[in-house]
């Protein structure tokens, strides 16, 4: 606005204007630098989310949706026992996957960071961890099916080894197989941030702890664990949000027998019930945001980054 005012004035004040422009630039520059990201986020994040929120209040029938303001989508969703059961079920998957990936992630990262001495080997082994990611996650998931099936590799080798005489039915199309697939898919999301945090720990601290007479367990608990909290928090956010939003893993690995919220939304979308799906998505978003905020309350990740 100041620029337009300047141009209208005669050239006598141009020098003064130039001075002001120079002084203006440093103040405007940060906003200009932030603008691309702001615009991107507005366009591709905020607008779609607001649309979803708006649509969640619309009415629908089997083929069309009608702009309206009704609360039926939310009342139908929140009063249905299925919703609660599905949320509980999804939370169960999230908690189990989180606990197991945390255990695996922490152990692997600890081994890489403190037991492998040379940086070259650290990097080599770290890259080995990423090998499963070279194939698509659907392939990685589907390959479990022939392995775990009733006549699958595992059951047939257990039977021929004489350990069992009936195939183990729980291996496939069960909660077991769902959690197994989740852990397989998402363990690396835990390993990477924890490994990163551990690498930043000043080795002098560990030597100091040892000099002070701390046992290995005490060092782990009182020195390493507190300092890797940000990594754990970031990994947890990845794993929990991914599991909460998943639908394909649950569908394939449970043989369509279990429900997750993502699957519920996918079903509604496929039946053209967009407003119901939108309401469901809004509730899911709120739940996941609450979970993330809770995690950030426990660990201040910015302090460490």
């Amino acid at each position: 606005m100041t620029l337009t005012a300047e141009t209208s004035r005669p050239s006598a004040t141009a020098a003064a204007g130039r001075v002001r422009r120079v002084r203006l630039l440093p103040r405007v520059a940060p906003y200009l630098q932030a603008a691309p990201l702001t615009v991107t986020l507005l366009l591709f994040l905020l607008v779609p989310i607001l649309t979803i929120v708006a649509v969640s209040f619309w009415d629908y029938d089997s083929v069309r949706i009608y702009p309206d303001f009704v609360l039926t989508n939310y009342t139908e969703l929140l009063t249905s026992p299925v919703t609660w059961k599905t949320y509980l079920n999804t939370l169960k998957y999230a908690v189990l996957t989180w606990a197991i990936t945390l255990g695996i992630g922490f152990t692997v990262a600890y081994f890489l960071a403190f037991h492998v001495r040379s940086t070259t080997w650290q990097m080599v082994l770290f890259l080995v961890c990423t090998i499963p990611f070279w194939t698509s996650n659907i392939i990685r998931m589907i390959s479990w099916i022939p392995f775990l099936g009733r006549n699958g590799l595992l059951n047939s080798s257990l039977i021929s080894a004489g350990i069992i005489d009936q195939p183990l039915e729980f291996l496939l199309f069960s909660d077991f197989s769902v959690v197994l697939a989740f852990v397989h898919l998402y363990a690396l999301f835990m390993v990477v941030p924890i490994f990163n945090s551990m690498m930043r720990i000043d080795r002098a601290l560990i030597e100091a702890a040892r000099d002070g007479g701390a046992s290995a367990a005490q060092t782990l608990w009182n020195v390493i664990l507190p300092l890797t909290k940000p990594g754990i928090a970031i990994g947890s956010i990845f794993v929990v949000t991914l599991v909460m939003g998943d639908f394909i893993t649950v569908r394939l690995m449970s043989g369509g027998q279990s429900a997750s919220i993502g699957l519920m939304i996918a079903n509604e979308i496929s039946l053209l019930q967009y407003p119901a799906a939108a309401a469901n998505a809004v509730v899911l978003l709120a739940v996941v945001l609450i979970m993330v905020v809770a995690m950030l309350r426990v660990v201040d990740i910015r302090k460490e980054l």
């Binding site: 083929v63 059961k85 009733r150 006549n151 199309f173 369509g256 027998q257 429900a259 079903n267």
Partner: protein, 437 residues
């Protein structure tokens, strides 16, 4: 582009080469023009610009066959682009993106949802050459004049609208047809005869405790509920007014029985796609399940026994057809009619019949099939020679008999059609509860 640029360098030695390429190019164009025009049996449109027409067809996987698109290019000269989606996605796209397709290849129950949305135009039956020869199931609902009309969304109930611009389905045949039937079949349960250990004769066998943990049902609500209803009716638990249009109580009762069975561990899995059903069956995870005819063929092709078991309560039938999008007009509309007339003229019919489906006009399809093929697929007689698939692979050895027998025996024993119910929204919610239970 190179052809036009090189001759401008007039007297250089390269002219000879460029002239030759130029000649070669024009010969190819001429050849293509002759080739595309010569074979068509339908000289309705002789406009050369029909070659520039591209029709975009989308639909469910069953009839979106590349072989058909290739043959269209060869016989009619224009391009047919095909997109295959699952039935839910087809419904969605048909309604929400009506400009994204020219021809919709949809099932009749999908048509019942899509047509009232006003995104398609009915077809003038006067322009359909073989209209009189279409199997009467699609016109009057009766295979023979004295057969009973099946329950559900029977094709003839949504096959016609009242007028050119109407979206209201007509009670009796009119001159305006919504969908031209292309492909249909009678579905039943697939079984592994080597593993079930006893003869299967009724839909209720799906819930037989002997098959605990070895049964499966398809998880497409509008079709799955019908299979469930066939089971409940066979058990004698529920007597339905119309299985294709249940009341809320009927839906509740049906899904209660299914939920109890699920909680007791009757089902191994629920499947949603063709290949899932094939894998469940061929791996032995499941030995009895709702299945589609080509899936049974696919299991058998792996050398694994699989029977498409006829059951005493009858079949659940489905049918699809071609419809024209509302926005089509002029040359493209002519091309669409041309395509539909070609579709009914026999080549596609024979192709579909050889896959184990049925085609809408049987007389023309018969002309494109060998007598042995016709006897095996349509008359239920033992195969006199090896039966080949359209791609030339052996499907059945000589001596085999089609499961369920002849066309009359199979299509004459349809108990209900795939349907969309008035209580659709309620049913879907309850179905989701069943899956989540």
């Amino acid at each position: 582009m190179t052809d036009t640029r090189t001759p401008s360098k007039s007297a250089t030695p390269s002219t000879g080469v460029s002239r030759r390429t130029l000649l070669k190019g024009s010969a190819a164009v001429a050849g293509a023009a002759v080739g595309s025009g010569a074979i068509t049996g339908f000289p309705t449109i002789w406009a050369q610009n029909i070659k520039n027409v591209t029709l975009r067809q989308f639909g469910t996987g069953v009839s979106n066959l590349n072989a058909v698109a290739d043959k269209v290019k060869e016989d009619l000269g224009f391009t047919l682009q095909m997109t295959a989606l699952d039935s839910d996605a087809v419904t969605q796209r048909a309604v929400t993106q009506p400009k994204s397709y020219d021809i919709a290849d949809i099932e009749y129950w999908i048509g019942k949802k899509v047509f009232p949305a006003g995104v398609m135009q009915p077809m003038d039956v006067k322009k359909i050459k073989n209209f009189d020869k279409i199997v009467p199931i699609f016109i009057t609902g009766k295979l023979t004049p004295d057969s009973a009309i099946a329950q559900g969304t029977a094709p003839h109930t949504v096959g016609f609208v009242e007028g050119k611009d109407s979206t209201k389905f007509a009670k009796a045949p009119t001159e305006w047809m919504t969908l031209i039937p292309t492909i249909y079949n009678a579905d039943t349960l697939g079984i592994r005869p080597d593993l079930v250990g006893r003869p299967i004769s009724s839909w209720k066998d799906l819930l037989d405790p002997a098959f605990k943990g070895k049964a499966s049902l398809l998880n497409i609500p509008s079709i799955g509920i019908m299979d469930a209803a066939m089971v409940c009716e066979a058990m004698g638990e529920i007597k339905y007014g119309d299985k294709g249009n249940m009341t809320k109580e009927e839906i509740d009762k049906t899904l209660k029985i299914m939920t109890d069975a699920k909680k007791a561990g009757q089902f191994r899995a629920f499947w949603k796609t063709f290949d899932e059903s094939v894998n469940l069956m061929s791996s032995g995870e499941v030995i009895i399940q709702s299945m589609w005819s080509p899936a049974v063929a696919a299991v058998r092709a792996k050398g694994i026994q699989c029977v498409y078991q006829p059951l005493k309560e009858g079949y659940r039938a489905w049918g699809g057809g071609l419809g024209i999008a509302k926005h089509l007009s002029g040359l493209e509309l002519d091309a669409a009619y041309e395509y539909i007339n070609w579709y009914l003229s026999g080549w596609v019919g024979a192709y579909l019949n050889r896959q184990g489906y049925y085609s809408a006009v049987l007389d023309t399809a018969k002309q494109h099939m060998s007598p042995e093929e016709w006897a095996f697929w349509m008359e239920g007689q033992p195969a006199k020679a090896d039966i080949l698939s359209p791609e030339g692979k052996v499907m059945e050895k000589a001596g085999a008999v089609r499961d369920g027998g002849s066309f009359q025996e199979r299509m004459g024993r349809v108990a209900c059609w795939n349907a969309v119910m008035d209580e659709d929204r309620y049913m879907v919610r309850k179905w989701n509860e069943f899956i989540a239970a």
